[in-house]
Amino acid sequence: MKEFRFSLGIMIILLSLCGCTKVIDLRLGNDSGLLVIEGNVTNLDSAQHIILSRNVPFTNTNTYPPVSGATVSITDNQNNTYNFTEGPAGTYSSAPFQGAPGTTYKMSVTSGGTTYTASSTMPAPVLLDSITEKSNEFNPGDNRRGITVHFQDPPNVPNQYRFIMWVNNVEVQYVFAYNDEFTNGRYVNLDLVETITDIYPGDTVKVEMQCIDEPVYTYWFSLMEQQFGGPDGGVAPSNPPSNIAPTVFGYFSAHTTQTQTLLVQ
């Protein structure tokens, strides 16, 4: 229930009282070179992509070595098989096809002699009604803006959402994952609260809304919880539970997608 703004309030008050930060040098271990699989099937009629890479040490730059030469395919529960071919190194793409809500997709990736499988069911889409901006509620004198998404949550079914935000075409490095545990059937006004990218008038904000299935939600939600490392109480960090077996880093998600863009006034 991270939308309970209460935690953010504590953080702001405590850290504004006496907090101070500095970059420190830590001797961290190196457990790198492990496989990362990121598979997505969307309801857009286009090529679908599965990306294979490896993790790197903390001290490296954020460039991740691609994993080439894998055999990648997706099969749906009507026994349609879609083969993926490697384009740019590590990126495997299918011929254009449109994922259908209600369909279960099974991903199969064979790399380094091991076959990794995962399945995911595409949920029914929920309409992203609108995205709006508002001024900083804690300090109205501040020129920064917050982004709110609005949608009608369908009653009777559990829904899970993931949002991705871009400011001036740069992706905000923050995971937004929510479910309808406390909002089922409501018209939802959800603040995408983050502290990484400041948004000012004149910025262009793009928001993608994904409807995701439950295991994929758990994956993203675990990552999101760990982002709060502060006085509001982040949880002990760990690798989020992947839906891929045998366990590797990453996930396979069949989801619906839609985007809206807002020019901040």
Partner: protein, 774 residues
Amino acid sequence: MRLILLCFSFLFFATSLLAQKRFIVSGTVEDKATGEKLIGATIKIKELPKIGATTNNYGFYSISLPAGNFTLVYSYVGYNSVEKAVTMTVDQVFDISLEPQKQLEEIVIKSNKPNNDNVASPQMGEEKLNMAQVNNVPVLLGEKDILKTITLLPGIESAGEGNTGYYVRGGASDQNLILLDEATVYNASHFFGFFSTFNSDAIKDVSIYKGGMPPEFGGRLSSVLDVIMLDGNNKDYTVEGGLGLISSRLKIEGPIVKDKGSFMISARRTYVDVFLHASSDTTLKGSSLYFYDINAKANYHFDDKNALYISGYFGKDVLELKDIFGTLWGNSTGTIRFNHIFNSRLFSNTSLVYSNYNYTIEDFQSASYFKATSQINDVNFKEDLQYSISNDHTLKFGLNVLHHTIAPGTITTNETSSFNDVSVEERYGYENAAYISDDWHYNSKITFLYGFRLSSLFLLGPGTLNTYDAAGNVLSSATYASGKLVKDYFNLEPRFTASYLLNDQSSIKASYNRNTQNIHLLNNSTSTTPADLYVMSSNNIKPEISDQVSTGYFRNFSENIYEFSAEVYYKALQNQIDYKDGAQLILNPDVESLLTYGSGRAYGLELFLKKKYGKFNGWVGYTLSRTELKFPAINDGNYFPATQDRTHDLSVVGIYQLNERWSFSSDFVYATGNAVTYPTGKYEVGGITVFSYSQRNGYREPSSNRLDVGATLEGKKHKKYHSSWTFGIYNVYAHRDPYLITFQNSKTAPNTTEAVETSIFATAIPSITWNFKF
């Protein structure tokens, strides 16, 4: 029933040991100036140096003596001793008043020789705080705080800055029982852990048991903090108080009926919000940020044999940002106690105790309006009896019937809100216990303190309760009517301590005790938040169990002026609780499906050197320890260090009385950092760089250290009033203790990541308080 039989046979056995005709001298010991009953005052017999007694929590003592002439010596730290000649031909009652020493006289130790209690008593693993010392230890912003002060003792570690939580011998912070006049205080923190709920003005006595726990205490694995409020001055009316940087406090006490009854009311409130109101920012101007607490107590002694005590605590924290959100939380407790002295051997205390913790979180904005509330409510009946069979045997036995009502939470919303109304079923249960213990002086060298506690939990309906498999799927579900038994647990907890006196100055002691815990705090966040969720043992959660063995060497020097002890302990923990990944605990009716269970072990060495008397006094405490946990789903099922695993923990406290007006104090702490999980790599998913981890708690936060100093200036003597100034500097050399470390994309060097350390107090923080009394 078997227990009662056992108790009786115990009594019978012990009584039959009496051969010679003996007489009893009993009574109470109190402070001459205020009438406060003195806890732990010692009574010795000059002619029989091996015989003695100490007063219990109500100032009561009882000693049996053969016929003859004796001299009784009553003494208590900081008071002049009193000698009383007595001829024993019948049972006698002596109520004794001791006069407090003038501060400087402490250095002259003549008639009041320090005793060797810490060496001679079989009790181990117990630490007592002297309130005079608590008041002298420098603290953050001048707020005297017993929870901060106990963490300066060996084996008790602070959970960190901005956290009143503490870890005892490797236990988690919810494994500590905190009692205020017998009532459980569930959340002992104010202002997110920067201050504790205990206002030192209102407190008479503080003891903490970290091992060798007496059977009268139970319900938590690690420790019991037993805090007793002042009774109130039954001789004179006094008013005292203080004006500090962040809070003010006031205490009024006086007789209800002189020498028979008294009252005490103590209150404090912070005024940070006064500064907020002065702000030009409109949101801050309309905001609230404060806490207050009130302690009140009254007592009345009907006669020598019957006394009634009523006490209560009420505290609240309020944090409200105008039109945005608000949160308030607080504890309230109430205790009614009746002391009855049946005869000079048998003392009884009957208590009825109420305890409540609740919090409210409210979002005032129309699009997200909600109000969430949660509480835990206890009603507790206790009967405690103390029976002095002879000087060789003192029995304590009693019963405890504790009813819990836990309301995990309710959300109320309105039509414009994004949120639904939610209500999670309340849970009901009884935690009942019976205990018996015997303090047995086997001979002049060997003493045993042994007994057991039978603890139980009855989880009751109404409600629908699920049983989950390891993966968290519902295995079965059943609906119970009101009062219907859902699940019960019984645990027998043996407690055993033995001491062997090597000579007057030294002893060795050993103890074994089992503790169980049936009420568990669920919180997977890393800090103190008011949103505490308690659950009882159930179909899914088994009672937590701890078995502890410890042994120690106790040695006094220089006529007991210096006390030294070295204790080692080993603790085995069962049925410990952790959380699955992505667990969302708050207001979750299936919260028990998100738990995972494991075991743990903790062991360590504690060294303690204390100087209790003299112009210069203080202590040095050092702990070397290890605490590890083991969960099947974490670290491939191997042991990993618990967050609170502290290899080294050092505290030094010194207090120096320069003259009648000036005294100085200082403390220094050093501790190994918490065990934490740091990334061992990074990768990219969804266009975002995230971190990979290979081992739980495989790293250490940087160690923490800090020096604080304080000074007290007593005002010139006036007939009618007295005043003093307290000055303090917290974190003198402005050390940056790490509060948290976050890993993120670098803001300065694109396409790289960095570790960022946040500290709360990176500067020295001065404080000043003016205290008055009239």
